[in-house]
Symmetry: none
Amino acid sequence: MKQNGSYKTKQKEKILQYLTSHPSKHITAQEISMHMNAEGTPIGTATIYRYLDQLVTDGTIRKYTIDSRTGACFEYLPHTDKKACERHFHLKCMQCERLYHVTCEHLCELELHILEHHGFQIDQSKTVLYGICETCRNHKN
Amino acid sequence: MKQNGSYKTKQKEKILQYLTSHPSKHITAQEISMHMNAEGTPIGTATIYRYLDQLVTDGTIRKYTIDSRTGACFEYLPHTDKKACERHFHLKCMQCERLYHVTCEHLCELELHILEHHGFQIDQSKTVLYGICETCRNHKN
DNA sequence: TTGCGTGCAAAGGTTTTGCATGGCA
DNA sequence: TGCCATGCAAAACCTTTGCACGCAA
């Protein structure tokens, strides 16, 4: 019987603290590494990746890749109340990095449609729609 | 005055031909390489990446990165008309990790609705809907 | 003590770069 | 003939893995 994440360590605490103190922000493994070096408490790369993997698995953070050149990004999901986020979708602005919570019947219809016509059951808590928000589009050019 | 892509070569022709013959399909640089090997006309990795970069820049193909583990994917955009609703969304099964491509007017309507009523312009290339696919739900205990 | 966690180094993979050669115009 | 394009190899990356040691419980 293998149980991951059963031990509490200083490394995990520091990494999670860094992630939670920057909610809705893109953070790479490299940034975490450099931050820890700057703090005088370096953490091995392997440890960082292993712990990030655990956090992704248990849903604490989300992993995505905008560009393969810069590598994967990780982002803390600030909603502790998972139920509160069950009934709405998330819109993430790629420019200002703000996260919008949208509750809309269109989205519920969409979910139903995809389930009925495409056989796919969407997990709203894991799904983020990426794009550009109104504010950023207005400020453009 | 530097001008990229000013020369027409056999390598470029073969790569573009392969991409256009598989519209709406995700193709990795590695797949192109292997395909060319199988065809008896191998093309250097660097050449493939350099040309793909050009095609992304001029908008002929689109670059996706669903998973940093497998690297970037490229996809031919069959329609130059941007307002055509022929693009598609991605459904990623969290269980079998398969990626589904869905072209559906409901999704296009959704995109339009979110733009008009929520002021948010979705970037389909970055957006992945997570959930469980039909096959995995049927196989569930 | 038990067994997970950590760090180091090495390996594995994708993508980029330098440089000489090849090929289009 | 000019250059850009190509190919090879090496480099530069990000990420994973193996192994011995450290540390939480």
